[in-house]
């Protein structure tokens, strides 16, 4: 199972770097978003030390993960329409290796873009420490697996890219919007605060925030948030494996 999965994951990475538009889109869009929102809201923001550019920094890493995982998921629909997927399904490679290959490939791509972005932290006054980077690296990896698996789960059921865009706008984007990336949990109305607590991305982002700025930590304790994100990632991968198992 490992060889087919790794080969499929490698394909994701090779394909990605051969489509320049995707590289630019996934990397530049979130950074642009961060600079515009951060600089625009600037010091009007009262929470998080009063600097929005700094507050929005950790959430941008999640957004990079989200964008990359959406693009990777779209490739599942293209593979189905183009016939690549059929040839994999007709091979003796276990169904689960398809899930693993796609999810690991998508997650790796997200991580490879989100992690280097952390190196920009000093530009907004967030000092980098080895331990902070190491923890953030682990949390980003778990969040990336979770997002890639959620993307796979929905893309597998979508027959068209247009249909998947609807899911993306209804499920994936709102998940990021209420993850604490744009506003802190502390000041939200109680129903929103609950929605944020139920969102696995909030836990992931809380861990990244704590790792980067221990003086201004996320809303949840670090070990617990790491455990929640990892657990959700495993559950999401299992859900994908169950979905694909029924495919003839």
């Amino acid at each position: 199972m490992i060889v087919p999965a790794l080969s499929l994951a490698r394909r994701e990475v090779v394909r990605f770097f051969r489509q320049r538009g995707r590289v630019i889109g996934a990397l530049v869009t979130p950074v642009l978003f961060w600079l515009i929102m951060g600089s625009g809201i600037g010091s009007s923001f009262v929470g998080g030390g009063g600097d929005y550019l700094r507050y929005a920094f950790p959430g941008t890493t999640t957004m990079i993960l989200l964008f990359t995982c959406i693009f990777s998921s779209i490739s599942i629909i293209e593979d189905r329409n183009e016939g690549f997927l059929q040839s994999v399904l007709a091979s003796p490679a276990p169904r689960a290796s398809i899930v693993l290959g796609k999810v690991v490939g998508g997650a790796l791509l997200g991580w490879l873009q989100a992690f280097p972005f952390l190196l920009l932290a000093p530009t907004v006054g967030i000092p980098l420490t080895v331990s902070g980077l190491a923890i953030a690296a682990v949390v980003l990896a778990a969040s990336a697996v979770f997002l890639a698996a959620v993307g796979f789960f929905f893309a597998w059921r979508s027959s068209s890219v247009a249909g998947f865009h609807a899911i993306m706008n209804i499920v994936l984007m709102p998940m990021w919007l209420v993850s604490g990336a744009l506003f802190p949990l502390a000041g939200a109305y109680s129903w929103m605060a609950w929605a944020m607590r139920l969102n696995p991305l909030t836990w992931g982002l809380s861990a990244v925030r704590t790792a980067l700025t221990p003086s201004d930590p996320g809303p949840f304790p670090l070990p617990l948030s790491l455990a929640v994100v990892t657990g959700c990632a495993i559950l999401a991968v299992l859900a994908c494996a169950l979905t694909i198992r029924s495919e003839k």
């Binding site: 394909r11 394909r15 690549f84 059929q86 007709a90």
Partner: protein, 308 residues
């Protein structure tokens, strides 16, 4: 020894629509077998069942004696499948596609690489092995697909409409590739709606509305009636058909606007026909029956009409 492919009483329904209505045939080892039929005849449904991607409603299909439904995993290792839609990744090179395919079949390392090279060379694409598939012509890409399908040394190669989407030159080229496979003794089942492609096969089954309407060697099927086919272009085909039938008898039909007459010694019949209906015959051709004529005789419809 079990037949390479054995299909018995295969049925498949999609809701109320019956795509396969009890299909049976067997393909011997080393045989090139064609499934010929109009679009919607049931070819692709049958193909997908053999490729383990669709379950039959009733009946059985076996590859080398292994049931495709009961033991799909074992069947998958024994079949090479080339789909109608291209399965090569266009962003990857021909060689990268081969290596990826090999990994799906548990092959790796040097043995995989050398086998991939041998196959790419055999199909004349080794010099393009490091070109991305998006830069290959449709015909070359199809060759890579077939090389991919043979990579793990399958007992049976399944090809779904291998010439779909290819231009005339590439189709001719593909027929040579198929002829090569036939000479090598590769067991091949291919679906097609091109007569010339079916004619390359050792045997063909003609499928229409989910049933096998003819089964046998292409030349034997064509010679079966012992007649020639005379095709007449005329202004009023229906009236002409009735007049010819009344005067000469025999099988006279109108197919795609032409009057079609089956007759032995057609060359002797043509002068009689033209003299009997002066001024009414715009054009006339005499030909040996083709698989298309076999189809018309068995179903009463032309291929194009059946596809519509």
């Amino acid at each position: 020894m079990a037949d390479a492919i054995e299909v018995r009483g295969l049925e498949r329904n999609f809701g109320d629509r019956r795509a396969l209505a009890g299909v049976s045939f067997a393909v011997r080892s080393g045989e090139m077998f064609g499934l010929l039929g109009p679009n919607g005849g049931g070819k692709t449904t049958l193909f997908r069942i053999l490729a383990t991607l669709l379950s039959p409603t009733a009946g059985t299909a076996r590859i080398e004696g292994i049931d495709v439904e009961g033991d799909a995993a074992r069947v998958r290792g024994r079949i090479g499948v080339v789909f109608q839609s291209t399965s090569t990744d266009k962003k990857m090179t021909a060689m990268e596609n081969m290596l990826l395919q090999g990994a799906m079949y548990g092959l790796s390392g040097e043995p995989l690489r050398s086998r991939a090279s041998v196959l790419l060379a055999r199909f004349g694409v080794l010099d393009r092995a490091n070109d991305r598939c998006e830069h290959l012509s449709g015909g070359l890409r199809r060759r890579v697909e077939i090389a991919k399908g043979l990579l793990h040394g399958p007992a049976v190669l399944l090809l779904d409409e291998p010439s779909a989407g290819l231009d005339v030159g590439a189709r001719r080229d593909l027929r040579e590739v198929l002829a090569g496979l036939r000479q090598d003794g590769t067991t091949v089942l291919l679906t097609t709606h091109f007569m010339e492609e079916a004619a390359v096969c050792d045997r063909v089954a003609i499928l229409d509305l989910g049933r096998v309407v003819a089964l046998g060697r292409p030349d034997a099927l064509c010679a079966e009636s012992g007649t020639d086919v005379i095709s007449v272009r005329t202004r009023e085909p229906e009236r002409f058909r009735a007049a010819v039938a009344a005067r000469f008898g025999g099988t006279v039909t109108v197919v795609e606007g032409a009057v079609r007459i089956e007759r032995s010694r057609g060359h002797e019949f043509v002068p009689q026909l033209v003299e009997s209906f002066p001024g009414q015959v715009d054009a006339v051709t005499v030909a040996r029956p083709t698989l298309e004529d076999v189809f018309i005789r068995r179903t009463g419809r032309a291929f194009a009409e059946a596809s519509a």
